[in-house]
Structure formats: structure tokens, C-alpha cells
């Protein structure tokens, strides 16, 4: 589906010209366009995203729609400032030739995205895309995709990811999905449904009908596995289930003598780690999805829950009240060497290991407020990113640079207020944004990049 642009005769010329210009530019000590996303102090990069060019009306429409999705992705990241199309001077009619850089420099664009949508005789669409450094007057990245026209949103996200990666040096996260719990009704009779959507809110659909209470969905890390693990009250007893997104099939996981909850997949996707509560004790167990063998990992009279694997699968972070109040603990994947890592004031819960392995996100409760924060796996460098009456359940974008969580407002005795919504925030603590959902929403889980 995706291939680097091969040098055709015309393209070769354009690329060679771009390279030549780039070499000229480098002579003038112009720094290559690069966004440092770690400082948290940068200004958004002005970027021009004109409609992708097209000839026939359906190509023009497709080109317009794709540019909108690309620009919206980039804008929401907080790292880019897509410029108003009405300021554009040059009308892009092809992705093949060099733009008139002067026309883009004069409106202060530092980067320019050009594209071309061409419907093929076989009914597929060919999408050409290029990213240009306006000041250095060079092409930074260029791709060509052939796909079914229905796939245009995904291709747009893939293009946005390519732009993000080229300019930040980090993997993008736009070609991803969110599974979450959609909520309706009053707090004492809340109806909760599994729902899934693209990371930008498009292609929303419900996966369950709301007849039984469902909570805490999490994606399988397996590429293409399309599986979710979550908690359902469907047969009275709360139990961990697997859900196949493609087939809609639900399956209870294991036959445990009590409530199972707080499930997460292991990084290789072969196990689910979860809690089992019996007789007032909550311990951590794993179940191998291939052999269906259940293994007890912790064994204490305390509450041990919310386990999350390190990306290498060798360690597990979880929360426990074994020391008196709810705190974060680390252990080896087999349950050995349990030690506490959170020592700040307050209670700590819902630890989630970053996909990069460098940080653990958590929910903190202190002084009547809730916080979302991050700390190093050894418990040092605690940093709180956001604070509210109730914020909970961080989930990582696959690049480990953005977190999503839910925020609930307080309600009065008549049930006014109490809204629950999804938000995303940069690891720097900047760019907190509501993630728009059709109804109230909680328990978000970010998918890996779609293969």
C-alpha cells in the first residue's frame, strides 16, 4: 500500500533539484527544520496544508477532505499551527513539482504539505504526498499510496504521522484508535457501553448494547489482533472478558472462584494480567491465552490491583494498600522482589508503564483533588501534569509522548454536573484538550499504531 516515491523521469528532476537546493541551503548554515518536543516551551510550527490537488470533482473532494484530516491531526498535537488556507498565494495543482517557496515564505509557513489525489481505472485512489521545508527549499519526505477510496482517513493519518515523525524525530500516533466506556444516564443508574473510535473521534461505534455494566477496556498489543480485554457484569459476577472487535465475539477469561478485574495484556499479547478478589483479598494473577493456565503472582491479605507490565515484560508495576494506603509497587514478572516506589503524600493508583519504558503514568489522590502524573520506574522524578476534582486512568499514546485520561466534574444533589469526558495532554503538561465523544466517556485505552 505504501511505497517511497520511485524516481520517474519527472520526479527525478524534482528530487534532484530539491537535493541541489538543499545543498545550497546547507552552505548558508540554515538549520534543518526540526521540532524539539521535549522542552515544552516551543511555539507551534506554522505549516501550510493546502487541499491535495485533483482533477475530477471526486478527486478534488477527496483532496480537500484529506488535507482537513491531516491539518486537524497536526493542530491537535499542539506542535503545529496549520495556516489559514485563505492566506495561500500559490494554488497547488500537483505534488510532483517544487512549490514556489517564496509564496509560502511570505505567509510565514515554515513547512508545506502538498498532495495529489488521482482515481485509478481499477477504482483505487492514488495519493501522492510531499513535505517541504520552505526556508531550506527542500523536500523532507515524500510517499505515494494506492488504496481504496474508503480508506482515505487512514491514509490521511498515516501522512500526518509521517510529517510528525520527520519533523520531531519521534514516531507519530495519529493512525490509532481509542476504545473507551461511553456513559449515559444518572449516576445511580449509569448505562455504560464499550465504544471504539479513531483517535480523532471519527468512525465511532458502540461495541456493546449497555444492558450489562462494562468497565476498563484495554487493547491487545498484537498487530492486527483486534482484541480487547475488559470487565463485564454480564452474568452477574464481574469477570474479565476478551472481545474480538472484528467478530464481536465475547469470551469470559478463565474460571476463577471470585471477581476478576483490572485486566491488561502482556507486551507480547500472550497473557492477560489481572486481579482476582476472593474473601476480601485481592491478588494479581496471570492467564496464558494459549495454554489457559492461570498463575498467581502476588499473595497477601492486601489489595493488589491495577497491574501493568514493563514494555520488555520483565517487571510489573501495580498498586497495593499493603503498607496502609494505596501506593505504587514494583515487582518482577514472577512476583519476586516487591518494593514500593511511590513515597509522596497522598494515594497513588492506576500505574501504566510508558511504551518507551522510561516513565510510569499514574493517578494520584491528595487533599481532596485528583492528579495525573508521571514518575521514573524507580519512583524518582515525580511530575504532576494535571489536576481536577476527579481525573483518572491515564493511557499512553504509542509513542509515549501524549496521555489520555478522563475527567469527571462534581455533581449536586439533583445530579446536575457529574459530566465525564476524555482529555489528552502532552507529557510536558501542555496542550490539554478535550477528546470529543458523542456521550459522556471514561476509561480510555489507546491502541498501538495500526499495522
Amino acid at each position: 500500500m505504501r511505497k517511497n516515491l520511485r524516481p520517474g523521469s519527472f520526479r527525478t528532476f524534482a528530487i534532484v533539484a530539491a537535493v541541489a537546493l538543499a545543498m545550497l541551503a546547507s552552505g548558508s548554515a540554515h538549520a534543518e527544520l526540526h521540532l524539539d518536543i521535549t522542552s515544552g516551551k516551543m511555539e507551534p510550527l506554522p505549516i501550510a496544508v493546502p487541499d491535495f490537488a485533483g482533477g475530477a470533482p471526486n478527486e478534488v473532494q477527496l483532496g480537500h477532505d484529506m488535507a482537513q484530516v491531516v491539518a486537524a491531526d497536526l493542530e491537535r498535537s499542539g506542535l503545529f499551527q496549520p495556516l489559514d488556507q485563505r492566506a495561500f498565494i500559490e494554488k497547488i495543482t500537483t505534488a510532483q513539482t517544487q512549490p514556489r517557496f517564496g509564496d509560502w515564505r511570505i505567509i510565514n509557513a515554515q513547512a508545506l504539505v502538498t498532495g495529489l489525489a488521482t482515481m485509478q481505472p481499477d477504482g483505487t485512489a492514488k495519493i501522492d504526498f510531499r513535505l517541504w521545508d520552505v526556508l531550506a527549499q527542500q523536500q523532507l519526505v515524500g510517499f505515494s499510496y494506492k488504496t481504496t477510496p474508503q480508506n482515505w482517513r487512514r491514509i490521511s493519518h498515516i501522512i500526518a504521522d509521517a510529517i510528525y515523525k520527520r519533523l520531531t524525530g519521534e514516531e507519530g500516533y495519529f493512525d490509532t484508535r481509542i476504545v473507551y466506556i461511553s456513559e449515559t444516564g444518572p449516576a445511580d443508574r449509569r448505562v455504560k457501553r464499550l465504544a471504539i473510535m479513531d483517535q480523532d473521534g471519527a468512525n465511532h461505534r458502540f461495541l456493546t448494547d449497555g444492558r450489562s455494566l462494562v468497565l476498563t477496556p484495554r487493547f491487545s498489543p498484537n498487530p492486527g489482533a483486534q482484541e480487547i480485554t475488559y470487565l463485564s457484569y454480564i452474568r452477574g459476577t464481574p469477570r474479565v472478558f476478551l472481545f474480538n472487535i472484528d467478530t464481536g465475539q465475547q469470551e469470559v477469561l478463565g474460571d476463577f472462584p471470585g471477581m476478576t478485574f483490572a485486566p491488561r495484556f502482556s507486551p507480547d499479547g500472550n497473557k492477560v494480567i489481572m486481579s482476582l478478589a476472593t474473601g476480601g483479598h485481592t491478588d494479581i494473577w496471570t492467564m496464558d491465552l494459549r495454554t489457559r493456565q492461570a498463575v498467581r503472582i502476588t499473595n497477601s491479605p492486601a489489595i493488589d490491583t491495577s497491574p501493568s507490565y514493563s514494555p520488555d515484560g520483565k517487571q510489573v508495576v501495580f498498586n497495593s494498600d499493603r503498607g496502609g494506603t494505596q501506593q505504587l509497587y514494583m515487582m518482577n514478572a514472577d512476583g519476586g522482589e516487591i518494593h514500593r516506589i511511590s513515597f509522596g503524600n497522598g494515594r497513588y493508583g492506576t500505574p501504566v508503564w510508558s511504551p518507551r519504558g522510561d516513565l510510569i503514568a499514574f493517578t494520584k489522590i491528595e487533599g481532596g483533588q485528583f492528579f495525573i502524573g508521571v514518575m521514573s520506574p524507580d519512583g524518582s522524578h515525580e511530575r504532576l501534569l494535571t489536576q481536577a476534582f476527579l481525573v483518572e486512568a491515564p493511557t499512553w499514546a504509542p509513542n509515549g509522548r501524549v496521555l489520555m485520561y478522563f475527567k469527571q466534574t462534581p455533581s449536586d444533589a439533583r445530579g446536575r454536573g457529574g459530566t465525564t469526558r476524555l482529555y489528552s495532554i502532552d507529557l510536558t503538561g501542555r496542550n490539554e484538550r478535550e477528546v470529543i465523544t458523542p456521550q459522556d466517556a471514561s476509561d480510555p485505552a489507546w491502541s498501538p499504531l495500526i499495522p
Binding site: 444518572p186 449516576a187 445511580d188 443508574r189 449509569r190 455504560k192 450489562s212 455494566l213 468497565l215 476498563t216 470487565l231 457484569y233 452477574g236 459476577t237 464481574p238 471470585g258 471477581m259 478485574f261 483490572a262 486481579s275 478478589a277 474473601g279 476480601g280 483479598h281 485481592t282 489489595i303 490491583t305 491495577s306 498498586n319 494498600d321 494506603t325 494505596q326 494515594r347 493508583g349 492506576t350 493517578t363 489522590i365 481532596g368 476534582f389 476527579l390 483518572e392 486512568a393 469527571q408 462534581p410 455533581s411 449536586d412 444533589a413 439533583r414 445530579g415 454536573g417 457529574g418 476509561d443
Partner: protein
């Protein structure tokens, strides 16, 4: 589930009616008087004779002296209604994380069950379920509401 919710709702309306206007309690129970209209061994009967719930302190699961008194009445009632089995629901307020609260609710339900069993009720007559913070009894983000939501509720099966 839905039936239980209805029973609870009915129980609550009876309670409310009892505390304010005792004479009309029969109306809430469906046209019968409070004394004669409540079927022995029903949820309404449990509520009227013993009380169906006990309350907990924040992030705690120990039974208070008031709770202990309620559970003694519940145990006596269960002995009188020997065919009845119950499910103890453990609930939490909204001031904790969801998964921890599921565990805490289970611990509270078991704290209730353990007292009933210690008072002579066979363990197989008492099952437990946790709802964590998912099913508050009272809506509102106030200490008064939270205090009523940190509860163990005995529900006749």
C-alpha cells in the same frame, strides 16, 4: 439486576415514607399496610425488621458498632427466614480509583458476610458482589452523599 434495582428502589421509598409519614407507608408497598402488606422473607421485610445496609469510613472496611447492631438484626432475621439467601453488595464513594474501589467494595462485602457467618448464618447463604463506585445510592459530590455511598447492602436473592 434490574429486579434488584426495583426492589431497592421500593425499599428506599418505604424507608422514606416511614421516616416522614408512617401512615402512608402502606401505599408505597402497593396498597397494603406496613404490617400486613410486607411478605415475610422479602427485601421489604428485611429493611423493615433489620435494615439492609451498613456504612463505612473512607477507604476502610471495618464494621462500625452501628453496623454491627444492624448485622445482628439481619442475622436474627435470616435465622427466622431460614430459606432466604442473600447477596451482599459492596459499594464505595466516588473518591477513589475505579479498580481499587472494585477491590475495596469486595472487601466491604466480605466484611459484612464474615459478621453474618460469625453470627451463625451458613456461608453458603451469603454471596458477595462488588460494584466499586459504579452504583452510588445517593447522587451528589458532598461528604454527606459519599458517607451514604460507602456501604454494604444486603439484598435478598
Amino acid at each position: 439486576m434490574r429486579l434488584k434495582a426495583f426492589c431497592l428502589l421500593a425499599a428506599v421509598s418505604i424507608l422514606a415514607a416511614c421516616s416522614s409519614t408512617p401512615d402512608t407507608a402502606g401505599g408505597a408497598a402497593g396498597g397494603a399496610t406496613a404490617e400486613s402488606g410486607i411478605r415475610a422473607g422479602s427485601q421489604q421485610d428485611l429493611v423493615a425488621q433489620a435494615g439492609d445496609r451498613v456504612f463505612f469510613a473512607y477507604d476502610h472496611s471495618d464494621i462500625t458498632p452501628e453496623g454491627r447492631a444492624t448485622l445482628e438484626k439481619q442475622a436474627a432475621w435470616m435465622k427466622k427466614n431460614a430459606s432466604v439467601t442473600v447477596t451482599v453488595e459492596g459499594h464505595c464513594d466516588e473518591r477513589g480509583t475505579r479498580e481499587y474501589n472494585l477491590a475495596l467494595g469486595e472487601r466491604r462485602a466480605n466484611a459484612v458476610k464474615n459478621v453474618l457467618v460469625a453470627l451463625g448464618i451458613p456461608a453458603q447463604r451469603v454471596s458477595t458482589i462488588s460494584y466499586g463506585k459504579e452504583r452510588p445510592a445517593v447522587v451528589g459530590s458532598t461528604e454527606a452523599a459519599w458517607a451514604q455511598n460507602r456501604r454494604g447492602v444486603t439484598v435478598v436473592n
